[in-house]
């Protein structure tokens, strides 16, 4: 996997690169808009991390130029501007995701994973499986080791999302956005409560735990 980081702040660029390398990516960095556009247009990347405010060529116009030349590489925008209007501007210009600074690197990695998964066309599978945990996408029923698990509609939605991203770290912000459609952080951490309920239903009666809490990052559903 190859990632391009277009970010004028060298320190931010370097720790993003560091984190992506640790996650198994090969990274390139550009420090202004023109270089970034040149590299993005001439090399083949799997993901582009793009800062919004850049010298020589602004992040949004880099993105627009890329999209105008039919380069569909997923782009994640990093921005110090966090208003709804900025977010909408970014997504309208063809970005696949938008993160507001300061962001946590764990959050960035999680989002990159979600983006890459999303770009793989989903096959017409009718069930998802992690270990002995299964969900049927048509009947919307979940079973573990053959025993049906009683889930509320939102719990099902949450589990389905976790299973679609099995093995990936999913952050609380991603869950708020994707499962509850919340684009702000509630005053109290409500996600943890939901997760502990879900864990009670799928893990409590079984010896091996599938839903893991990743400290400082989020959650991960995987079979150890």
């Amino acid at each position: 996997m190859r990632a391009l980081i277009i970010e004028d702040d060298h320190e931010v660029a370097s720790f993003v690169a560091q984190a992506l390398k640790e996650a198994g990516f090969i990274t390139d960095s550009a420090h202004d808009g023109r270089d970034g556009l040149f590299m993005a247009a001439n090399e083949n990347y799997d993901i582009i991390i793009l800062d919004r405010m850049l010298p020589t060529k602004d992040g949004l116009s880099v993105l627009k130029t890329l999209r105008a030349t039919d380069i569909t590489t997923p782009v994640l925008i990093l921005s110090a501007l966090g208003d709804v209007r900025h977010r909408i501007d970014g997504l309208k210009s063809g970005a696949d995701d938008y993160m507001v600074k300061p962001f946590s690197v764990a959050e960035l990695l999680a989002r990159v994973q979600v983006l890459l998964k999303r770009t793989i066309p989903s096959n017409t599978e009718s069930q998802l499986t992690v270990g002995d945990l299964k969900i049927d996408l048509l009947s919307r029923k979940a079973t573990r080791a053959g025993t049906e698990i009683d889930l509320k509609p939102k719990e099902y939605k949450l589990l389905e999302f976790m299973m679609r991203h099995a093995g990936q770290v999913v952050t609380r912000t991603i869950l708020l956005e994707q499962v509850w459609d919340y684009n702000f952080a509630p005053q109290t951490n409500v996600i943890d409560v939901h997760m502990s309920r879900l864990r009670n239903k799928i893990d409590r009666d079984y010896p091996n735990e599938l839903l893991h809490t990743i400290r400082g990052a989020g959650y991960c559903l995987r079979e150890d």
């Binding site: 110090a80 966090g82 600074k101 946590s104 509850w180 509630p186 005053q187 109290t188 409560v193």
Partner: protein, 471 residues
């Protein structure tokens, strides 16, 4: 909304007083002219009488009483004698000659002027002049003043016409002035309303007649230019603060995360984790603060869409329910809108919509419910009601906690203000300030009530038109 007291608009008042002054001055003018003309006509009659009587005295002095008697007989027979009275009497006021038979009752038997008003027997009004001729004879001359009266009536009619004309003219002029003035003032007021709704580039149109209203419009426009410059300044500053603070915070966050990797299995890891949490908290406070300022200055660009409040509230309850259950609290949703419509089996398209920014309204409901759970006691009930009137949808959240003391109801809307009893609980003192700013932006209002617990009531105006917009 306050109910407006019945009032006259400024320009209507102006037009009415203009008309009144116009009419009053015409009436005063009429009175003056009428008085003056009466005075001059009386003088005219008196001088006629004076001349005639002097002539007759001359005749008497030259030709004696016989000649005068003859002259009076001759005069009495003349065609215009009807409007005149001639009477020559002796010292006992017995008739010698003339066209009346005896000395009139109302006229004193001495020389001098008299005026007789009309009576039932005599419909005419006369002015008399009596003359004493050597104490032997009395001569009385009278002139009918009917012509003078007629003239006065005529003058009065003319002025009545003038008054009617001036009332019509005055009203027309007043109406025109009223309309003209009202239109121009409305233009100013509409522009101001537009600007308050966030269209900062709008300006008051100027008619180029350079009158007082244009001068005022120019001044107001200059003021608006100045305000816009200041607002741009604020926007620039907040954007800069946002940018200049966020980039270093990103570096701090990044370094701390690298440290987190390095301290794996280390006793310092706890310290790094709590520092990261602290930085995140700092950022949340900073973001909330920035949002509130932008909301209050109308600076935040929002994405207004029709929203079904009951749906949004249900979603919020769904996300908070586990939190409440952990505290043994029960959330009851009492939705007048939902039940009302299932009863009538009407389609969901009939439910009143509010127009708003979905994320902002969701954040409000979330903050209010968060507070109710946080400050409500364990094993209590939180009741949520949604009602609607013709104009507003009202959401009320009622918990059984101690709530906010009445004296602090206003203060809690200020940034960073926290009620004494809640200082030890987590929170940044910005939750209600944000709610208040969002509600204000949506032209709604919020009330607190300490009644069997604590109640927050939020009213938001129903979007119009009701049924044409669908999500």
């Amino acid at each position: 909304m306050k109910t407006k007291a019945p009032h006259l608009s400024l320009s209507l008042k102006f037009a009415l007083s203009f008309g009144a002054i116009f009419i009053i001055s015409t009436l005063v003018f009429e009175a003056v002219v009428s008085e003056t003309s009466e005075y001059f006509m009386e003088k005219e009659i008196d001088s006629k009488l004076q001349t005639k009587i002097s002539d007759m005295r001359g005749v008497y002095e030259l030709g004696g009483i016989d000649l005068l008697t003859k002259l009076i007989e001759k005069r009495s027979a003349q065609s215009d004698a009807e409007t005149r009275i001639y009477l020559l009497a002796d010292a006992d006021f017995q008739k010698l000659s003339g066209n009346i038979n005896h000395w009139p009752a109302g006229v004193p038997r001495i020389a001098g002027w008299t005026e007789l008003e009309d009576t039932d027997e005599n419909p005419n009004e006369y002015r008399f002049l009596a003359l004493n001729l050597d104490d032997k004879y009395y001569l009385l001359l009278g002139l009918d003043t009917i012509k003078e009266e007629e003239l006065e009536d005529y003058v009065f009619l003319i002025f009545l016409g003038a008054v009617l004309f001036s009332i019509t003219g005055g009203c027309a002029a007043g109406f025109f002035l009223h309309h003209n003035l009202k239109n121009r003032l409305d233009l100013i007021s509409n522009t101001c309303t537009d600007i308050m709704q966030g269209h900062f580039s709008h300006r008051i149109p100027v008619s180029h007649t350079s009158d007082e209203i244009d001068v005022m419009a120019h001044t107001l426009n200059a003021m608006l230019d100045r305000i816009e410059t200041l607002m741009d300044g604020i926007r620039h500053v907040t954007d800069n603060i946002a940018h200049d603070l966020r980039t270093p915070l990103t570096r701090v966050h990044g370094r701390l995360e690298s440290l987190l990797v390095l301290t794996k299995g280390d006793k310092n890891r706890q310290l790094v984790e709590s520092t990261i949490a602290e930085v995140d908290q700092l950022l949340m406070t900073f973001t909330a603060l920035l949002s509130i300022s932008r909301l209050e200055t109308g600076e935040l660009e929002t994405n207004f869409k029709p929203i079904r409040l009951p749906h949004l509230v249900k979603d919020t309850i769904e996300i908070y329910e586990p939190l409440a259950e952990d505290k043994g609290q029960q959330i009851i949703l009492n939705d007048a809108l939902m039940s009302q419509h299932t009863d009538n089996s009407r389609s969901s398209g009939d439910k009143p919509l509010i127009s708003g920014d979905c994320d902002l309204i969701a954040q409000c409901v979330s903050n209010l419910l968060d507070n109710a759970i946080k400050y409500g006691p364990e094993n209590s009930v939180i009741t949520i009601r949604i009602d609607n009137s013709d104009t507003h949808v009202t959401l009320s959240i009622h918990d059984q906690g101690n709530g906010i003391p009445e004296a602090e109801h206003k203060k809690v809307l200020e940034r960073f203000y926290r009620v004494e009893s809640s200082r030890n609980l987590p929170g940044n003192g910005l939750g209600l300030a944000l709610v208040s700013a969002v509600i204000h932006l949506h032209n709604g209002n919020m009330k607190f009530r300490n009644e069997k617990g604590f109640q927050v009531e939020v009213s938001l105006p129903i979007a119009t038109p009701l049924r044409t917009t669908k999500i």
